[in-house]
């Protein structure tokens, strides 16, 4: 009977014994009476009870009386001039209350990073005279029911004049490419007067000249959608005192509050965000795209308004992780030491900046990866194309660069018939090394992590490599 009731499955529950030594050594822990009572003990998640009883309140669980529903009519072109928008058929749909266009938005131009001084404002809330990507919002249909809002949105008629689209980052930077975003004036973001985010460290050309080997490869990633279980959305409820209460699943309550106030041209204290409960975000809910227009709709109808993406919108228009194209050229000595690395990196921002200028800077700061390379040259371009605007997602800027950098390391090891771990240990940064962007590396620990990984995987390292340390120059 006892055996029968014991767990028989392969998966094991959380084992807290891992921290027993630390707890004992510190003389603390549950029994030790010290301050550190949490480390090494099991602490229930504070939100778990709400989740397992269904009582956690997500934004869409709010059901104010007289709730109206907003659905967007979106561009079905990648790049086109808007010649005419005909709302007559849509307005005739029973239950349609109001249709908002760009003229209804007090300040119809924004960029989410303006709050930290990044500009120019480059994105209309609702399209004005042009659409720059497939699915760009053109007008917002507010109706009594979701079905009526969908039907109204389907009956908006837009006349377009197609413009040539550009979908490739390198094509977009060529002379004569179609101009995607007039607010920038060219198809790249300008960093303090420069055409890209640059790193110049040592003399990379001299390194290529004296290297035993030069390797150059190209890497390309696709956009990646965060696909949270709960789609992006909000419910805006006008209050008796004239304020708006915004129930949102944003990951960025304060970004949303500030940007929405700027778009509405209203003091910040007229808005109240109720947030913090997010049904999965992963970076996909930081762009402030649903709240401003829902607020305008709530003010225009003096009713609570819900604007939530359906799954198709979440996949098509919510901003994904940017696609990147990365060229890496390395100067390598016969023993595996990398003496120069030249990186040309293109990040596809899509039609608007969103958080991608920042992601591109992060990519630059990450180069040349966790390695000490004396000569580094990098040009990191933030490029506008007629694709869905890209933005944040879990380590954006860094993740794809790492895919490229570590693939490059493996390929070099293969080309020189070297152990890929030894190649990394030889080049790994040590504490005190000056990184390419002029910061001193601290607490690196990469050497120890590789040594431990090798040990756990049963990968033999020679004594000299086992004795290497991230705090000394031993073995270099």
């Amino acid at each position: 009977m006892t055996d029968r009731l014991a767990p028989t499955y392969r998966l094991a529950p959380i084992d807290t014994s891992t921290f027993a030594d630390e707890r004992a050594a510190a003389g603390t822990g549950v029994d030790g009476g010290g301050d550190f009572t949490v480390i090494g003990s099991v602490v229930q998640r504070s939100d778990a009870r709400g989740h397992v009883t269904g009582r956690t309140e997500f934004f869409e669980d709010v059901a104010p009386a007289r709730l109206a529903h907003l659905k967007m009519h979106r561009s079905d072109r990648h790049h086109a001039r808007i010649l005419d928008v005909d709302l007559s058929e849509a307005l005739a749909v029973p239950g349609v209350l109001r249709i908002l266009t760009h003229a209804d938005i007090p300040n119809n131009l924004y960029t989410p990073l303006k709050l930290i001084g990044v500009g120019p404002d480059d994105e209309p809330i609702l399209a004005v005279d042009k659409v720059r990507y497939l699915g760009e919002p053109i007008c917002a249909v507010v109706a009594e029911t979701e079905a009526a809002a969908l039907e109204g949105a389907a009956r908006v008629r837009v006349a377009y004049e197609d413009l040539p689209p550009v979908f490739d980052v390198e094509e977009a930077l060529k002379e004569g490419a179609p101009l995607v975003n007039e607010y920038h004036g060219q198809n790249h973001f300008i960093y303090e007067g420069h055409h890209c985010r640059r790193i110049r460290f040592g003399d990379v050309e001299a390194a290529f000249a004296r290297a035993d080997h030069v390797f150059e490869w190209r890497y390309q990633s696709a956009p990646i959608e965060q696909a949270p279980a709960e789609t992006t959305g909000c419910v805006v409820v006008p209050q008796a005192d004239g304020r708006l209460r915004i129930h949102s699943d944003t990951q960025a309550c304060f970004f949303t509050l500030d940007n929405t106030a700027l778009i509405l041209e209203t003091p910040f204290n007229k808005l109240r965000i109720v947030g913090g409960t997010v049904g999965g975000g992963f970076g996909g809910k930081v762009d402030v795209v649903v709240e401003p227009v829902a607020c305008v709709a709530a003010m225009a109808t003096d009713r609570p308004v819900k604007f939530v993406y359906d799954r198709a919108e979440e996949m098509q228009v919510s901003s994904p992780r940017a696609a990147e194209r990365i060229y890496i050229k390395d100067a390598v000595m016969a023993d595996g030491r990398i003496i120069g690395r030249k990186v040309t990196l293109y990040v596809d921002a899509g039609a608007y900046a969103r958080h991608t200028p920042y992601g591109t800077t992060k990519a630059a700061a990450h180069l040349p990866g966790p390695y000490s390379i004396p000569n580094v040259w990098a040009d990191c371009h933030c490029v506008f194309t007629n694709r869905t605007p890209s933005s944040a997602m879990r380590g954006f800027g860094v993740t794809i660069a790492d895919f490229a950098l570590e693939s490059q390391m493996d390929r070099i090891a293969r080309a020189l018939d070297l152990d890929p771990l030894r190649l990394r240990l030889l080049n790994a940064y040590r504490d005190g090394d000056l990184k390419a962007h002029r910061k001193v590396a601290e607490g690196t620990a990469l050497v120890e992590v590789i040594q431990k990984a090798a040990e756990m995987a049963g990968h033999e390292l020679p004594e000299a490599y086992r004795r290497m340390s991230s705090t000394t120059r031993e073995g270099l």
Binding site: L11, P13, T53, G54, T56, A63, R311
Partner: protein
Amino acid sequence: MPSQIVSLVVNGERREFIAVPGATLLASLRESLGLTAAKRGCAQGACGTCTVLVDGRPEVACLVAVETVAGREVRTLEGVAAGGELDEVQSAFVDCFATQCGFCTAGMIMVAEALLERDPDPSEEDVVEAISGNVCRCTGYRPIVIAILEAARRRRAKSPQEEAVAR
């Protein structure tokens, strides 16, 4: 055809409400009856966040036109913790850290309830198959599978005599 009065037995109670044509069981539970544990994740039947039990079997409520299940028994997560006390599945989800953002949790628990009612001693493979229609985008599948197996163990331990008789 105008809206209809629909009657369901929800968590053991007969409930009546007005449904507009085409209203889903999910919309009816959430908007007409105020039972918001079941979530709308995709409205396409692909994510399982709206899973409830209809006559004891899991169904995705977003694909059920509510008129078609009139009179039937529906069980939602709100009906699981009787009197505010967590049942074995719920407490195992808490103890095994099987929740993260919480959006898939209601569907996962309802699938687990139906599974354990049918099979008190499922294998790991059985659990994986049972939740194969439920998406967890925080990718916490591992603790969820552990929690369901742990819930089964706790439930069996609670009634060892019944267990012995059954064998």
